[in-house]
């Protein structure tokens, strides 16, 4: 087991390195001139040139990449001579838009996204797995058909529509909840819950639909295996067969999927955050895109992708812990 974990971690470090190179190139080599993006429309060529030199954008790309990575690990210094300013590690640069440190912006946005993802995750996993098992047990009956029809509509609806409709009907029309205004749960738990309940539900509907279908097909496949027949043949009660034998065996793909989806959401639930104006990572990224704020775009992409790569490895290791055969390959 231990050598396996070491191998996976080595691979993860390598993947993170490649990821940082690709992310850097996507946003620094693909634009025609990043320096042009540093100031707004009322820009003079002098300011652009000054910014180019100050931010090191006149240097060759490999050097820029090196400085960027150095900033993340040990911090970096911008400019030279008297007009220098330090950016301490982990430094992801300064926003082109308001000059704020990107690291600070991400630190503020991350908890919002984390709460959103966790709440939705708990909701969709309990509903998705629950109704998936229920539908599988009643395969072909009206309960199964109803659940399948609802899930099909659930994942065919445009993502933003569920949230918007809830916003319009629950908040604007019926005034059942105040307008969303995010606060930390430690400051004002009631307002936190009032803000988060609709985002949680709207995000969970989408995923619950998918997990219901996944659980159902997984259960149906396991239920037709020989060991289930054996369990029934030796006289186990049906409940025990489903819970102890079928569910345990069918669980692994669901765990993998859940791990990856949770990690994906931690990188920002763009649409839900946008609809409910939650100041999370997704919202930060969208605002940055609208302002061509390259350092912030690069940083949010890097953070989001890092979550997924780490989750990839965690899921692999979990898988190996559950099923020893995996380690051999």
């Amino acid at each position: 087991m231990f050598p396996y974990i070491i191998r996976r971690v080595m691979l993860m470090i390598f993947m993170l390195f490649v990821l940082s190179v690709v992310t850097f190139l996507l946003f620094n080599a693909v634009p025609t001139d990043p320096a042009m993006l540093t100031c707004g429309k009322t820009c003079t060529p002098q300011i652009v040139e000054a910014n180019r030199i100050r931010l090191g954008l006149d240097q060759p790309l490999p050097f820029q990449y090196f400085e960027w990575i150095k900033g993340i690990f040990v911090g970096r210094t911008y400019g030279s001579g008297t007009q220098t300013f330090d950016c301490s590690a982990p430094c992801l640069g300064y926003s082109f838009k308001n000059g704020e440190e990107v690291t600070i912006m991400i630190k503020q946005a991350l908890p919002v996204t984390m709460w959103l993802a966790l709440g939705a995750f708990i909701l969709w996993m309990s509903f998705g797995i629950g109704s998936g098992i229920y539908a599988a047990n009643r395969k072909g009956k009206w309960q199964d058909r109803t659940i399948m029809a609802i899930t099909l509509i659930g994942y065919s609806l445009p993502v933003f529509l569920i949230g918007l409709m809830m916003l319009i009907f629950v908040i604007v029309r019926a005034h059942l909840l105040p307008y969303p205004d995010y606060v930390s749960p430690f400051e004002n738990p009631l307002q936190f819950l009032q803000t988060m309940i609709l985002p949680w539900i709207s995000l969970a509907i989408l995923y619950a639909a998918y997990y219901t279908r996944l659980t159902r097909s997984q259960m149906l496949e396991t239920m037709s295996e020989d060991f289930i027949r054996t369990a029934r043949a030796k006289g186990l009660p049906e409940k025990r067969v489903i819970r102890k034998h079928a569910f345990r065996a069918g669980l692994t793909p669901i765990v993998t999927s859940a791990g990856m989806d949770l990690a994906g959401l931690l990188g920002g639930a763009v649409i839900t955050e946008y609809v409910f104006s939650l100041p999370g990572l997704g919202r930060l990224a969208i605002d940055a895109v609208k302002d061509y704020d390259l350092p912030t775009i690069t940083a949010t992409t890097l953070v989001a992708a890092t979550f997924i790569i780490i989750a990839n490895i965690v899921v692999d290791v979990l898988y190996a812990a559950i099923d020893p055969r995996v380690r051999l390959s």
């Binding site: 990821l19 946003f27 693909v30 634009p31 993502v159 920002g268 997704g282 895109v289």
Partner: protein
Amino acid sequence: MTAVHSVDDIPSAETVETAVVGRTLRQIAFNRIKHDKVAIACVIALVIIILLALFAPLICNLFNVDPYTFDSAAISDSGGLPVGSLGGVSMKHPLGVEPLTGRDILARLLYGTRVSLMIAFLATTIVVTTGVLIGIFAGYSRGWIDSILSRVMDLTLAFPFLLVVIAMSPVLEQRLASLGIPAGNASRIVTLVLLLSLFGWPYLARLIRGQVLSMREREFVEAATSIGSGTSRMVFKELLPNLWAPILVYATIAMPGFIGAEAALAFLGISVQPPTATWGAMLEESVGYFTVDPFYMFVPLTMLLVSVLSFNLLGDALRDALDPKADRT
């Protein structure tokens, strides 16, 4: 499960031919689809939508409407809302008019259908082609080529899809402009298709690679090798005929995925700009008028839902019809 080949996961033309006299998987699947009422309904709905898109100019001529003309007579002078019930439905404007401009919704819907379907179709075509090619190449080569390609797939999947597409779109558009494609809706559509494909291919490539890897161990590939088949014969005569079932199912499921992705991007303001319309762009505009003119939203939403649901249901039906494990009827 009646036939001998129930152990195989992959629909295989070869085994079917020997086991069931005179009926290939293609014939069996076609027969099953023909008797599946839901699938037939979906096919009919999709054909109608595609015909509507193809003959958009003709239909618009017939109703004497066009998507660009402003009609100030159809909207009220004070608020710019459509005059009359159901968002201004009248003989002149069969599906009402757009608030503020008075542009005809039927014409915009038909022309929008063209753009929406075109984006989804182009993205699906590119994704299926590259996914299949890379998947076969990785699975067939094995060894270090497979390792590298698999890592590239992991890395591409690590990028948060929506976020990167949003973040890359202004950057890529700028790059296209420098290559001589003028900024505008044409370049936006190209950008969208490129980005959707760029981050969409690994899903299919992974699937195909897995299939090819397991197929390589099978007797028919061994037999082909032993009679000295070259690579091209192996790929086109042996592997591809056994892959068309998963490819077909994947392509059917990919279409609604891309339609939904375009709608989500339109909602975030990253799709085509007026006067060009798509389902997503129309939905995004209509959301603002939902409380005063709900019919405006109803129109594009119906089209989007019908097509997405039809594709999804058809995909499910195809998967069932092409499943070699299912009972042969």
